[in-house]
Structures are given as C-alpha cells and as structure tokens.
C-alpha cells in the first residue's frame, strides 16, 4: 500500500553484534536514503543510494555500511553495534535526485543496543 516497508520494526541487540536493517520499496524509485532520528537532533542522513550498487555516505556514516544489490532493497548494517546507535531509523525513497520530489518515509525501525 505505502510502497515502502522497513523490517524489523523493533529490535533489541547487544553491544558488539552486527545488525542489518532492511528497506524494501515497490515504487521502482532510484533514490533511497537512510536517516536516524534522535531527540534534539532531528533527522540525520547516514547513507544514500542513487542506483543499484551506487551508494554514498551522509553526515553520520561512521559505524554503518549499506548495500543495494536490487532496485527495491536497501540494507543498512551496523557493523558492531554500540549504545550510541540506539535510535529510530527511517528509510526514505524519492523519485528524483534533483530535490524536486518529496520523500516517502518508511514506518521506521526502533533499535535498542544494550
């Protein structure tokens, strides 16, 4: 229905373990983004993708990696989770990379690192 889904919706993990979050879209949009949202900081860009296998870093990319092997899937991996990565993670998609189309956000993944 919404065209974009994130999984899992909630996750609790231990410090030092790897974690992968998935973003799946059915809109065939080329542009996909991962943001994290923390109180007092708003939404901050982690990584983005402008096509299959084409990705780049955002402003808070340390400790994160991404992969996009298919148009519809954009994966975010926390290589070794730390408590500072406890956050709500949002994936977004856009029809254009010119900034002239709005984002559609997924429902978010609430990640807790203990």
């Amino acid at each position: 229905d919404a065209g974009i889904t994130q999984s899992p919706r909630h996750k609790v993990t231990e410090t030092g373990t790897p974690v992968t979050l998935r973003c799946h879209q059915t809109e065939n949009h080329r542009y996909m983004y991962w943001y994290r949202q923390d109180p007092g900081h708003g939404l901050r860009l982690i990584h983005y993708s402008y096509g299959v296998k084409d990705t780049d870093k955002g402003e808070v990319s340390d400790g994160y990696s991404v992969s996009r092997s298919k148009t519809e899937d954009f994966l975010l991996t926390l290589e070794s989770a730390t408590s500072s990565q406890t956050s709500v993670y949002f994936c977004a998609i856009s029809e254009s990379g010119l900034g002239n189309y709005g984002y559609t956000f997924g429902s978010g993944t609430r990640l807790t690192v203990v």
């Binding site: 943001y35 708003g42 939404l43 860009l45 402008y50 010119l98 900034g99 709005g102 429902s107």
Partner: protein, 111 residues
Amino acid sequence: QQPVQSPQAVILREGEDAVINCSSSKALYSVHWYRQKHGEAPVFLMILLKGGEQKGHDKISASFNEKKQQSSLYLTASQLSYSGTYFCGTGAAGSQGNLIFGKGTKLSVKP
C-alpha cells in the same frame, strides 16, 4: 549546516494561526516541509524550489526566499489535526536529492 527552525515549540488554540521559520547558511535549491505525529513517520507536505515561490495546501502554505535562504510555513485557522512536529529539509543543487533536516518545531493545537 543544519537549517535552523524557529520557534522550537508553539501551543495554539483551535482556529489560531502560526508561522514556522527555517533558515539556512547555505545556498539552497529546494526546501521541503514534513509533519510527523508521535510514533509515526514524517509525512511530506510540500516542496518549494528556488525562484522565490509560494505554495498552498489547504490552509497550510509556505514561502521560499532564496536570497535570504529562508522558508516559512504558514498554518491558518489551525485544527487539532495539525498537531505534530514540523521539519524543514533543505537541498542543495547537485546533492542527489539529499536533504538536511532542521531539528523540528513541535506544534500543539488545543481545543
């Protein structure tokens, strides 16, 4: 580089008006506005592109002054459903559509 939003929070009575401002230190190509309700994802409201345009969306409208690198969101005759946190997202030319978001303005509309 993060745009600055003001005010940080505002409380209104139904039917009152509000203005939310977004100011950037960088040259802008576009300004987006989103509303997020508690526990939900941000929802796109409108986009303004450089050219000093103004857009409307029911009783919610916005303006973009590219020379001042500022945008304002106007909420007229507020309704209870307008409550939420409003974010501006700014985009620069050639940024692959990346947006830098402000910290948000929390709007509460009371009966």
